[in-house]
């Protein structure tokens, strides 16, 4: 992806909007279509786009796998924590009505926090899945890059040589016509 300037520029332009749209879907989810799951997928897709265009090494620097793992656990903890909070306040598990003085406000607060937990975990798991498939942690070392570049150069030279050879050894179509 070293030479794809158009891709890089386009990705850079799009990224803030993707992430912002994810947050909109997240926090507007209780008034319109959306919610934690969809928002999490969109946010995760934004990070994955960055990783695809700029390399997983850069992505790992911005979004470290350790932090992602913690975020995945934190989301579930937030969800369950809201349930436990309503339990401790004397209502049934996940009965948000009790979280505020007004039951409607309580429901609102509860679903907002629960969806935040969902969004956090879905984002984190999307990114973790991508990292898992995109290779072992730290596999993209300098030597690996050097080897890869070397191999690419060699392949390019071979291709040029082959093309030259083919044109020499191939039949001369122009003369037969």
């Amino acid at each position: 992806m070293q030479h794809h300037t158009v891709l890089k520029v386009a990705a850079k332009l799009l990224l803030p909007f993707i992430l912002l749209f994810a947050l909109y879907v997240q926090f507007h989810g209780d008034f319109g279509p959306g919610g934690g799951f969809q928002a999490g997928v969109i946010f995760g897709a934004g990070i994955i786009l960055y990783a695809l265009v700029f390399g997983t090494g850069h992505a790992r620097a911005v979004v470290p796998p350790g932090a992602v793992r913690a975020a995945a656990a934190l989301g579930v903890l937030l969800y369950t924590g809201v349930g436990v909070a309503s339990l401790l306040l004397g209502a049934n598990f996940l009965d948000y009505g009790i979280l505020a003085a007004d039951p409607v406000a309580g429901q609102h607060l509860g679903i907002l926090l629960v969806e935040l937990g969902v969004g956090l975990t879905v984002t984190a798991v999307m990114i973790l899945l991508f990292y898992a498939f995109a290779g072992v942690e730290g596999a993209e070392t300098d030597r690996a890059v050097a080897n890869r570049d070397g191999a690419e150069r060699a392949a390019a030279e071979r291709a040029v040589a082959d093309r030259g050879g083919a044109s020499r050894a191939g039949p001369d179509w122009t003369s037969t016509s």
Binding site: R69, A72, T80, G83, V84, N92, F93, D95
Partner: protein, 497 residues
């Protein structure tokens, strides 16, 4: 205290669910193990409290999020699932005591935290399947427990664990999908997912082909998850390749929870009239169960790997449970539920004993067990006790459940089943004797590992010995197990959850 009592159904699920993500954050194996063991013990206490509360035949209903029953998700506990909750949490706690050293030896250090996370999620899923009164919620918890189980199997030593986990994943997903399709079809005709509500509304539309298809899908899906013969192909490799502790835990619980859900659907949701009258999947299940009992025992005789041998024996034992359900009577259901409990006692003991052997000799191959009976007397003594229970020697738990099953079959005039049980018990004696014979009566070569194997550490021996003792205890003093099973069996066959 009364509020705590009222919140027990939620705590049963919430405590392990909350602990699982915490466990994944713990870097040190000892901490992860400690958290898992403490949580499992607490879950057992909750399950025991619930069992005490429903032991008079009453039911507990818990509305999740405070939403009323047919719309919201309802947890419903009666004698049947209270017993399942006790089995699952009990098996988890006992195996976790054993797991600390065993897992440290068999799982890579940096993955131990994840191993216990998967364990807790698996526990959450199975408890959820047992406790919920909502058909779709069963599917959700089924997937939680299944995905965690695939992870547990895949963390086993050796590359074949990955293949076993993958095969289990493919078949398990098919099973879960079939179950979901079935629930979807039932929902299509009734417009409800609550089990009690479903049972009430199914009668009016029972003649439709959609409901017939739904019932078939549900039974097939659950049959696959419960490893009912001939849908058992995933089980032997999964149990043989998983880490010893995970194999013990799963052997004692995973298929049993599916058998429980099958019982719940056959008796309560579809109802006795539908399950054993018009459509009669019951007879079909009886035939499959008999085939499974004979085939499972017969294949076990030819296994050279003790874990694999025990896994095949499990397929036969699941046959006993399904056989009892298939009879469709209160006595049959009682026998099936009783065997659910008793089989957990013996299979967990046997698998844990094998875990001790693997800990000391590094292998569960039959050939590598020569002479270990002399060097590891407690482990192999407990193995012998549990094996006698599996065969059905009088004064052991296995005898009690076989006796109840026999009585239930004879009550229906099905005397050939008596012959099947006899043949299967003989085969069980043969395959278990192969292990015992090698362990006690063959001598190890002077330079082999097993010749110098010492008894396993006491934290690994104590759970095995305790379970072996429990096999005798519940073979003599049966008031708890048969009492609960009879209560649950009568409630099932009486109709209505």
């Amino acid at each position: 205290m009364s509020t705590l009592q009222a919140q027990l159904p939620a705590l049963q699920i919430v405590v392990p669910l909350l602990a699982a993500p915490l466990c994944s954050l713990l870097r040190r194996p000892a901490l992860a193990w400690g958290l898992a063991a403490a949580v499992s013990g607490a879950s057992f206490a909750v399950a025991a409290a619930l069992a005490v509360a429903v032991s008079d035949g009453s039911e507990i209903a818990y509305l999740l999020g405070g939403w009323a029953a047919p719309w919201g998700i309802e947890y419903r506990i009666d004698a049947l699932n209270a017993l399942v909750l006790v089995i699952v949490t009990g098996a988890s706690t006992v195996t976790l005591v054993h797991a600390r050293l065993s897992v440290a030896r068999e799982v890579r250090r940096e993955r131990i935290g994840l191993f216990y996370t998967a364990w807790l999620l698996c526990l959450t899923g199975m408890l959820g399947m047992a406790i919920t009164g909502d058909a779709f919620n069963v599917f959700v918890f089924l997937e939680i427990s299944s995905l965690a189980t695939y992870t547990l199997v895949a963390l086993g030593p050796g590359r074949e664990a990955l293949l076993a986990a993958f095969r289990y994943l493919v078949l398990g997903s098919i099973g879960a999908t079939f179950f979901l399709i079935g629930v979807g079809l039932l929902y299509m005709m009734t417009g409800t997912l609550n089990m009690a509500d479903l049972a009430g509304r199914l009668g009016g539309v029972a003649h439709t082909r959609t409901v017939t298809a739904g019932i078939v899908f549900v039974i097939l899906g659950l049959g696959l998850k419960a490893a009912v013969f001939p849908l058992h192909a995933w089980l032997p490799a999964a149990y043989a390749c998983a880490p010893s502790s995970a194999a013990s835990f799963l052997a004692g619980t995973a298929t049993k929870v599916s058998v429980y859900v099958l019982a719940r659907f056959l008796f309560d949701v579809f109802g006795v009239d539908l399950s054993f009258g018009r459509l009669d999947p019951g007879t079909f299940l009886v035939l499959l169960a008999i085939a499974g009992i004979v085939a499972g025992s017969a294949v076990a005789v030819f296994q050279d790997h003790v874990k694999r041998l025990l896994a095949w024996s499990s397929i036969a034992q699941i046959g006993y449970m399904v056989l009892g359900l298939g009879l469709g009577t209160a006595a049959g259901a009682t026998a099936s539920i009783l065997h659910l409990f008793n089989h957990a006692l013996m299979k967990v003991a046997l698998f844990l004993a094998v875990g001790n052997l693997v800990y000391r000799t590094g292998s569960a191959a039959l050939a590598s067990l020569a002479g270990v009976g002399r060097n590891m007397p407690w482990t192999m003594g407990a193995f012998l006790m549990a094996a006698m229970s599996l065969v059905g020697v009088p004064l052991t738990a296995g005898f009690v459940s076989k006796w109840y099953l026999l009585r239930a079959a004879l009550e229906e005039g099905l005397w050939p089943i008596a012959i099947v049980i006899l043949i299967s018990s003989l085969l069980a004696a043969i395959y278990l004797w192969r292990v015992i014979g090698v362990a006690f009566f063959e001598r190890a070569g002077p330079d082999t590992v097993q010749a110098h194997a010492a008894e396993a550490p006491w934290t690994m021996v104590a759970p095995v010995v305790a379970l072996a003792a429990a096999n005798v205890w519940f073979g003599v003093e049966t008031s708890f197990s048969t009492g609960f099973a009879a209560l649950a069996g009568a409630a099932l066959a009486g109709g209505g959850p």
